[in-house]
């Protein structure tokens, strides 16, 4: 493993910086976007294997963006992990319902997140 492309979508620049640094440190090729439009542009440019998706975004939110990506055969296979500060009951169900492959809440665990991503990628490899 190594070198897989990962797209981080978060409207909070500080959090984006944190996750980007973490993923780069673990050898990923990182793209980032502050909103849904930026994310679609980045995906069009270079299709990622994994998207870390913040749910609350200005304009089109993370749930709606995930629904669109999962409905499109060209992007359906991208692993989407919801990363959100919404931690109330029901928020996880909403994320999984629109097709997110996993759901983690902020504050993120910097020690566990790389393993979670690696596990999803390994599972994808076994299946394909």
């Amino acid at each position: 493993m190594g070198g897989e492309r990962i797209l981080i979508v978060d409207d909070n620049a500080t959090n984006l910086k944190l996750v980007a640094y973490l993923m780069k440190a673990h050898g990923y090729d990182v793209d980032s976007a502050l909103d849904a439009e930026g994310a679609l542009e980045a995906i069009g440019r270079r299709r990622p294997e994994v998207i870390l998706m913040d749910i609350q975004l200005p304009g089109i939110d993370g749930l709606e963006l995930t629904r669109r990506l999962k409905a499109d055969p060209g992007t359906r296979d991208i692993i989407i992990i919801a990363v959100t500060a919404y931690a109330m009951k029901g928020d996880q169900d909403k994320a999984l319902a629109v097709g997110c492959d996993d759901y983690i809440t902020k504050p993120i665990d910097t020690r566990a997140l790389p393993d979670t991503i690696a596990r999803h990628l390994a599972k994808r490899e076994v299946m394909s």
Binding site: T14, A25, A85, A87, M88, K106, P107, T110, R111
Partner: protein
């Protein structure tokens, strides 16, 4: 039968008591000659007469003397049966004595058989007289019946009725319901006037005699005025709907006064009102609970966001993933610091919000020199403004340089507005902080910017918690989403109001309008004397739980020179009322701990302050809710200062300032 007016086509039903067949025939002949069609029967003996009298007749003609029989017996038989039957006596031996006897016994005429030509005119006259008498009796009977019916209707009417002489201003009669209502006898009621049955004043403040004069004058002018009226009986006030109906009897102005006791209806109204109130309260509680959950969800989200940076970066640094001493290391420490500060601001805002919500926020008003305060605020923001090259201008009206207000809270409001203005104003723009006077001893703090502006549809969300607006597709502006909500609550808690005017692309002006001379607002459990009681100042007890209304009342009353004590619950009000004497009291009917009417009952029942005028101030538009209580006046919210002061003056509680003059 003809010439009579009594019947039309049917023959004259004639009964004849006559022993002579010839005389009977002569009689019939004369009548037929006179144009009558006659259906006659002749009787010759008492038994035949009795049988015949069972049937109806138009006329009876009887011979005066018959063998074993005679006119007197015939008339007696008719009288004995109480028959309304016209009788004419004919006699072969006329004389004055029998004629008088016959007429006395009920005969209408006494004729001589010698003069048969007289029969027809006599019959005509007798029939006419009989008809007249019957009509009179019928009319009398009808009159008697209608009087009885009126009498019965009056007596048994479901409402209290008084017969009243409008000229002499006196009650003539009263029905059973009225004696029951007034708890006194018909004789006591008769000959007394309305004044004696009414309290000194009516609910609208007029004296009962003034008000009665007014309505009686209207009744005399031919109207039948209907109006609410307070009666008094057995120490109880009885709210009624009363109507004076002018009966316009010739020569005398008699009237019937209808009185409907509306106590039950008012009670039912009160119950309905309270149940509606509870329903509203219930809805409000459900809505509050929903907002609270939403607030918690948002709160959790807002706290986790900076914590994510704090914990995340700290973990990276702690785990040695960033080279110690490197620029990145330093940058991450800075991010932790900033996120920590943001978190602190968030917590402070939330605490402020919670304190205002719980009514626990304390304001410490003091005399503030505005130029100094304004320059303090600007100093804090100077760096931020300089970074964006934004020109900050202050415009301070010279008439509002000295205010009595909590300086920290005012700074908080100005700081929030100014930091928002700086945030949303592009590089090179300008921001103006303006302090100017407003009507009613108030001032206005305004912050005008040349920022991005706010769409009209978003204005309503501005001052609501966590409703941070999105600035287009750009990133979210840094902020807790609580600043303006805190501002609104801070200002409102001081009896002020906030607002914003904005044009997209041109800029926005946020303002706060506040009293120039603040009053200490406290919801502590004991009532607070709000200002040092001036020597001789008259103290008004203000019972009001809404802080804004409290502020308004206190400002109006203190402005007029009264001292004010404040109670925000019914229990406090009762405690004050029993402990001290007051010049007057104002009472809000909607209190948190008891119904306003229960409070009125408690205050009315107290021995202390028993002559203190009570002014009810209510949002309820129906003044009848307080009927039954001793209340000087009922005023409506929103309250006008002049109306309140005028009402106090009417109650004889003149403002100390006026007295000095």
């Amino acid at each position: 039968m003809v010439p009579s007016e009594t019947s039309s086509d049917s023959p004259l039903q004639l009964l004849v008591a006559e022993d002579s067949e010839d005389d009977f025939e002569i009689l019939l002949r004369e009548l037929r000659k006179g144009g009558y069609s006659v259906s006659a029967e002749r009787v010759k003996a008492p038994s035949e007469l009795e049988a015949a009298l069972d049937r109806p007749w138009d006329l009876l003609i009887s011979d005066w003397i018959m063998p074993g029989f005679g006119g007197p017996q015939v008339l007696e038989a008719v009288a004995a049966r109480g028959l309304d039957l016209a009788c004419i006596i004919v006699s072969g031996t006329p004389g004055e004595e029998p004629a008088v006897e016959a007429l006395r016994a009920g005969a209408l005429d006494f004729l001589s058989k010698d003069k048969p030509r007289r029969i027809v005119p006599a019959v005509q006259r007798a029939l006419r007289e009989a008809e007249d008498r019957r009509a009179r009796i019928r009319a009398e009977r009808e009159l008697r019946f209608s009087e009885e019916r009126y009498r019965t209707g009056f007596e048994l009417a479901p409402e209290a009725l008084l017969a009243y002489d409008l000229d002499r201003r006196v009650i003539l009669d009263a029905n059973a319901k009225a004696t029951e209502l007034f708890q006194c006898s018909r004789d006591d009621l008769s000959s007394s006037d309305l004044d004696a049955l009414s309290p000194h004043r009516q609910a609208d403040g007029r004296t009962s005699s003034d008000a009665a004069n007014h309505y009686i004058a209207r009744a005399l002018a031919g109207e039948s005025p209907a109006f609410p009226w307070l009666f008094q009986a057995g120490g109880l006030l009885i709210p009624t709907e009363t109507r004076i109906i002018n009966l316009a009897t010739v020569g005398r102005n008699l009237a019937q006064i209808n009185i409907v006791d509306i106590r039950e209806r008012l009670r039912a109204d009160e119950i309905r009102r309270r149940s509606a109130e509870l329903e509203t309260q219930n809805r409000r509680i459900r809505e509050a609970s929903r907002l609270k959950s939403e607030f918690l969800a948002n709160m959790s989200h807002e706290l986790r966001t900076p914590l994510n940076a704090i914990i995340g970066f700290a973990e990276l640094l702690h785990d040695g993933q960033v080279e110690a001493g490197s620029p990145t290391h330093k940058e991450f420490l800075g991010d932790i610091l900033n996120s920590g500060r943001h978190l602190l601001q968030l917590i402070n805002d939330v605490l402020d919000l919670a304190k205002v919500e719980a009514g626990k926020l304390e304001f410490r008003p003091e005399v503030v020199e505005m130029p100094r305060l304004v320059s303090d605020i600007i100093a804090i923001l100077r760096t931020t403004a300089a970074q964006k090259q934004i020109r900050v201008e202050t415009q301070l009206d010279p008439t509002v340089t000295t205010l009595t207000i909590d300086p920290q809270r005012l700074k908080q409001v100005a700081y929030n507005y100014l930091s928002n203005a700086l945030k949303f104003t592009p590089v090179g723009g300008s921001v103006i902080l303006r302090i100017k006077p407003e009507d009613g001893d108030r001032f206005r703090l305004e912050v005008q910017d040349t920022g991005i502006g706010i769409a009209r549809e978003d204005l309503g969300r501005l001052f609501v918690e966590f409703q941070q607006l999105e600035a287009g597709a750009a990133k979210r502006h840094q902020g807790t989403g609580l600043g303006l909500a805190v501002v609104r609550r801070l200002v409102e808690a001081q009896g002020g109001s906030v607002g914003v005017k904005s044009t997209l692309g041109v800029g926005s002006t946020f303002y706060a309008s506040l009293p120039c001379h603040a009053i200490v607002m406290s919801r502590t459990s004991t009532p607070v004397t709000l200002s040092p009681v001036r020597q001789g100042a008259r103290t008004v007890l203000v019972v009001e739980d809404d802080v804004r209304d409290q502020a308004q009342l206190v400002s109006a009353l203190e402005g007029a020179g009264y001292a004010v004590e404040l109670a925000s619950t019914g229990a406090q009000a009762i405690a004050c009322w029993r402990a001290r004497g007051y010049a007057a009291a104002t009472i809000d009917l909607l209190l948190p701990d008891m119904s306003g009417l229960d409070l009125l009952a408690a205050l009315n029942g107290a021995t202390k302050n028993d002559r203190t005028p009570i002014i009810v101030i209510t949002v309820v538009s129906d003044t009848k809710v307080v009927a039954g209580f001793t209340v000087h006046d009922v005023l409506h919210k929103p309250l006008d200062r002049d109306i309140l002061l005028a009402s106090l003056a009417r109650a004889g509680v003149n403002s100390p300032q006026l007295e000095k003059v």
